[in-house]
Symmetry: C2
Subunit: 340 residues, 2 copies
Amino acid sequence: MRGVMLYAPGDVRVEDRDDPVLVEPTDAIIRIAATCICGSDLWPYRGVEAVDGPAPMGHEYIGVVEEIGTDVRGIAVGDFVVGSFMASDNTCEICRAGYQSRCVHVVPMGTIGTQAERARIPHADGTLVAVPATPAPEQYPSLLSASDVLGTGWFAAVAAAAGPGKTVVVVGDGAVGLLAVLAAKQLGADRIIAMSRHADRQALARRFGATDIVEERGRDGVARIKDLTDGLGAHSVIEAVGTQESMTQAIRSARPGGHVGYVGVAHDVELDGMRLFFSSVHLHGGPAPVRRFLPDLIDLIVRGEIDPGDVFDLTLPLERAAEGYAAMDERRATKVLLTV
Amino acid sequence: MRGVMLYAPGDVRVEDRDDPVLVEPTDAIIRIAATCICGSDLWPYRGVEAVDGPAPMGHEYIGVVEEIGTDVRGIAVGDFVVGSFMASDNTCEICRAGYQSRCVHVVPMGTIGTQAERARIPHADGTLVAVPATPAPEQYPSLLSASDVLGTGWFAAVAAAAGPGKTVVVVGDGAVGLLAVLAAKQLGADRIIAMSRHADRQALARRFGATDIVEERGRDGVARIKDLTDGLGAHSVIEAVGTQESMTQAIRSARPGGHVGYVGVAHDVELDGMRLFFSSVHLHGGPAPVRRFLPDLIDLIVRGEIDPGDVFDLTLPLERAAEGYAAMDERRATKVLLTV
């Protein structure tokens, strides 16, 4: 089969890889219908994270089940499925508490690489969710988004306690930030302030439910949020970048007793204990337990209540993955879908 | 009146101070019945925090109302009251959300100094809670503890989501840590693991409800907690010290999705963003909104259901405050009550 490999920073190749085979009786093999490039794929692409190349790439996927192991019960051959970017058994104590991304038997799908024609899915019963009927290709982008960016934005909004009566600030206008806006809207937030400097992303944020846009960043951005919230700060702040500046901005934008949900992978971030102490915020985040939300997200998509697939602004065939990485790296695209 | 002043690190004096007077119509003047020395008073005493001396000391207090301003409605002259260490109006949006310690009009009582014969209490209606009947002197220690250390330990246990079905770890065996054990017990925790190396404090922790004691610290301490929790970590961890080691130990002792409540004032603490991200914990803390809990705590004490006053292991007259500071600094006492 064909699959994407990262050889070194900036060196993405699509090449022949071995077809996956069942390894554990709980595995499934799926034929991938669509996959995509994640903001987090850019960390190794840019050399911010070390690359032990050639490494398979990709962790987002939708597709059709081709084979199942002998212990797979809930998923059948022929099912059209969406899976989380973290494979989980969904039965351990951590999973049952809703933290499937930290399952005691977790397998990060990025180690398997779903930017490919096929993939082995460990813990198929605990990782995959079948779509009720085979979807039309127009629904692929939205379903694919549920595999990571929608689920991650949703988790961030839940972690930030977004809901009725709340003013929610979203720091970061990448795919996750934009979908966190959508999630906050769905969760019933009164007011959603998107922090963005890009006209196209501002427009999408408004379409997803943002009521206000703040272009300022850092101290100026925090000052604007305070202006908009009677000097108190927001009830809920979503951090979807993962830098020192964005985390600082997020924490300072929240009111005492407010909630900060952070899902940007925190690179070179140090939090000052005393400042955090006196911020009096709730802080929660980490790799999103997408599987917790997946059944509901699929339901919302299938019923046409949300269109998260709108975050994809470039579609390329798998063979042209390298162009997709470059487009995201250069910010010419927010999110790239790869057709398979 | 007589009152405690800190002139410089280690230089505590009891001297004549001006009697307090009503400044705002929302003020009350109370005659203090008992006050005490807080672990946080040791930061300036030890020179860890700068001292702009001579500075009035103390922020914990119980006493009898002697005068009230013209706008005070809920508190009357003659009431025996307990107040929070942070004066709050209890009407602003932040107070109504339960974060009175971050009231928009907050006055830290430490700036007024309650280690004295009398004190002015700002926002009397929002800060003080009257005890239903004048208490017996035997109840003074428990009521006094509610002013800070009990309320702070309680907040930590709530922030750590202690409750039925939960395993709770308490890092720190000072007065706050010990009372966090008591709080976790009252909140219905199944198992409470106190981390302590001192036999007398271990005994008090057990009396307050600890089911297990762990003497190891740091990595070894975390390893013991993992051993005791099927390798997962605790559901709830309370941090009541405020050092890099204790915060690290607390976060690592919690399971993914678990809750860390931290109330130790975080001195020279830096949290690594990436480690925090992958810990997947909920983190919440800060100066405790004691006023939120005060009515219920007073009720529990008056009904004799809890005896938090047992944390006081040295009682001295106000005039001998310097001895009390030295005893706490040298760890000869856990918590010193000053009679007035």
